[in-house]
């Protein structure tokens, strides 16, 4: 027990130790977080009228980010899987960082859920025994798998760090099975999120069997893209060295998942637009506009340019092996997928409405501030988790080495 207390104080002490740059970064993020809290208050006193959402288009920027971030959370498995299934040395060293990213992404997803809900004060209605948990609802399943994934990653990640901290050997009897459960679970969170929208025949834009695999493919492109960028930042700003082999494997994963994602998007375009039924109206709106409304057209085409551009860059050896050019390709892939799977997928699902009304959705300032704030909160949490984890991996935080932190 005392050890645990020590762990907590050492961990916090290490994180609080930082230079001007660290505090400037955290302070900037905190500003956005304050803004987020204010608009959250606004939404829960004025109502969702402060957002751009309507009865016609009732899922917008929040739901888009939610869907995207579930993918980022699942994407962390691209580190854990090679580490534990293929015993990849470089990945094994950093697998705990992937778990920290997963924890962060799931927390962000939950915050976007609160932002999206009309009555977040009634959240307890879906938590037994006070509330009702409905197994017939995909949203119910989504909450279940996301909560489970958060717990799994928390337990796996922090148990690993705890063992490194104390110097005790890892109890593989339950740790390894748990890691494997977490790997399968990662697939489940994004599959269920795809089911969430694909199980509504009222929205033909989404009611496709291809949706789950498209979600997984884009997730395993966007997630590792972010991870590569984070790894390169870690290499630059800390003494912790991440092997080239780990980054190269991630690059390969991104390349081919991005390729599959592009292939699926292209297939959808061909299949939908060849017959051009009314069910293709959503996609048509996204690509070319409908009834003179073209709000998402620039979004879609910029996503296409970003994703294809990133794919070509990833295929070019001089780019993918160059650690200064690689982050550009990663950022392009990440941004492209954020658009394609976020606003580009969610909003056209509502255009036209099931009775044929064509309206548009524009996020308001409140929504942008909330979104920025939640992302800022995500980076805030991620910075803390990664700093602590790296401190332990480097041996800076170690049981019985308090002298180091006391300085």
């Amino acid at each position: 027990m005392q050890k645990l207390f020590r762990f907590a104080t050492d961990y916090v002490g290490y994180i609080l130790k930082g230079g001007v740059r660290f505090y400037a970064w955290m302070g900037t993020l905190a500003l956005f977080i304050v803004g987020m809290l204010y608009v959250f208050y606004l939404q829960n006193t004025e109502g969702l009228i402060v957002t751009g959402m309507t009865s016609q288009i009732h899922e917008g920027l929040y739901f888009s980010n939610l869907v995207f971030l579930v993918g980022v959370a699942a994407g962390a498995v691209t580190i854990v899987f090679p580490a534990y299934v293929y015993h990849h040395e470089g990945m094994h060293k950093v697998s705990v960082l992937g778990e920290m990213l997963a924890i962060t992404a799931v927390i962000m997803v939950m915050m976007f859920v609160f932002a999206h809900m009309g009555r977040p004060d009634r959240l307890w209605h879906m938590i037994p025994p006070w509330g009702i948990y409905s197994l017939s609802s995909m949203l119910g399943w989504d909450v279940l798998v996301l909560t489970g994934y958060l717990i799994l990653n928390f337990v796996c990640g922090f148990y690993y760090l705890w063992c490194k901290y104390t110097g005790n050997p890892i109890n593989k009897k339950w740790f390894i099975p748990l890691v494997f459960i977490a790997i399968v679970w990662a697939l489940s969170i994004h599959t269920v999120t795809a089911f969430l929208i694909a199980t509504m025949p009222a929205r033909p834009m989404w009611a496709h069997t291809v949706m789950p695999i498209r979600f997984i493919a884009t997730a395993f492109a966007a997630g590792p893209s972010l991870i590569i960028i984070i790894f390169l930042i870690i290499r630059k700003t800390t003494r912790f060295w991440i092997d080239d082999s780990a980054i190269k494997l991630l690059t390969t994963i991104v390349t081919w998942c991005l390729g599959i994602a592009l292939f699926l998007t292209l297939s959808e375009v061909v299949i939908e637009l060849y017959a051009r039924t009314e069910h293709a109206n959503g996609l048509y709106y996204l690509m070319f506009g409908l009834h003179g409304l073209t709000g998402l057209v620039p979004w879609f085409w910029s996503a296409v340019v970003l994703m294809i551009g990133a794919f070509i860059l990833f295929l070019t050896p001089s780019v993918r092996n160059n650690m200064t050019l690689l982050p550009i390709a990663c950022a392009m892939a990440f941004a492209g997928i954020w658009i394609e799977k976020g606003m580009g997928l969610i909003v056209p699902g509502f255009i036209p409405t099931p009775i044929g009304e064509v309206t548009e959705y524009y996020p308001t300032f409140v929504e942008w501030l909330m979104t920025l704030g939640i992302w800022a909160f995500g980076f805030f949490v991620l910075t803390i988790l990664l700093k602590g984890a790296i401190g332990i991996l480097l041996g800076d935080i170690k049981f019985g080495a308090q002298a180091a932190t006391a300085k």
């Binding site: 809900m117 009309g118 009555r119 004060d121 959240l123 509330g131 009222a202 099931p354 009775i355």
Partner: protein, 318 residues
């Protein structure tokens, strides 16, 4: 985060609770899902609401909790040939069911839409048009004439007089499906099918996730993006718990076939007001009811039948 959101909710609640019905609000906040309430709890919930509404709207407001009547399955039939597109049903519905009637976007809620469909016409002049241009082999020039098109309706038309010569009308509202997709997706089971047929919502249990709105193939549901704008003098004080009682911010609402009326043996407001008698309502289990007669003798169809939602709202023509 859970505690944070609860705190924010509580804070939001407390800022409004400086008046007499604060206790009623708290009781409402922690009450159970309506379906799981005992009879006693339902009565308590009703009394709480009656107190709050009466104070808020400055007149005695009744909240009915009459349950489903045995041997009744409500059904609806609409004669699309007769409809003249006057939209009296829309306005009667708004007045009866205490919908929000503000001016900001999202503050104006209507449960019925009367879709206006252009008749369109086929023309000789278009024969040589089409795609590819000049040949019209793959797509004839008359292809884009709107005749018979069902899904590209518009319902915000403002004609000088109805019926318009070049239009037909298609009223649409909640279909009260026997297999409602909205019920299936609700994570808290706040929307459900009542024993006598209508799909209802416990507004006090709804968390505002809007999954039901996504699942509905008929766009029957509306979200209260803000506290509904309901003038005191216009408020209808005869309400039902699952029906037309005033809603709150952040919850979903929709047509419930005027439970406050139909459970007392009256017609829904839209049926009563229809000047051409296009709307029929009754007990599907009673072979002598109007709606049963329609089903027996007329050509009827259900909207989007291919989705297997099995609406109890039928269209017919004679």
């Amino acid at each position: 985060m859970l505690s944070l959101s609860s705190l924010m909710g509580t804070a939001a609640l407390m800022t409004h609770s400086d008046d007499a019905h604060a206790a009623a609000e708290w009781g409402e906040h922690f009450q159970k899902n309506y379906r799981l309430m005992t009879e006693q709890e339902k009565i308590e919930a009703r009394d709480r609401l009656q107190r709050r509404y009466s104070a808020e709207y400055g007149k005695p407001v009744s909240v009915d909790i009459t349950g489903a009547q045995p041997g009744v399955l409500m059904g609806y039939a609409l004669n699309i040939r007769k409809c003249i597109g006057c939209r009296r049903c829309v306005h009667a519905c708004v007045a009866e069911n205490n919908q929000s009637r503000g001016t900001r976007p999202g503050e104006k809620i209507e449960w019925i839409q009367v879709l206006r469909m252009e008749r369109g016409k086929f023309e000789k002049e278009k024969m040589e048009h089409g795609y590819p241009e000049g040949l019209g082999i793959q797509v004839g020039g008359n292809a884009y004439t709107p005749a018979g098109q069902v899904l590209e309706g518009q319902f915000r038309y403002t004609p000088e007089a109805v019926p318009e010569k070049d239009a037909t009308y298609m009223p649409i509202a909640c279909m009260q499906c026997e297999k409602p997709p909205c019920v299936k997706v609700c994570p808290v089971r706040t929307t459900y099918r009542e024993g006598d047929g209508p799909v209802v919502i416990d507004y006090n249990w709804c968390i505002g996730c809007r999954m039901c709105m996504g699942a509905c193939p008929y766009w029957a549901r509306r979200i209260n993006v803000t506290t509904p704008v309901l003038p005191k003098e216009a408020m209808n004080p005869v309400t039902h718990y699952l029906g037309n009682r005033p809603r709150m911010r952040g919850v979903v609402e929709k047509c419930h076939w005027c439970l406050q009326r139909t459970r007392q043996g009256r017609y829904p407001a839209c049926v009563e007001v229809c000047p051409v008698g296009a709307r029929k309502f009754g007990n599907l289990l009673d072979p002598e009811s109007e709606v049963s007669k329609v089903l027996e003798r007329k050509n009827v169809f259900r909207l989007k039948a291919e989705l297997n939602t099995f609406p109890k709202f039928f269209y017919f023509y004679d």
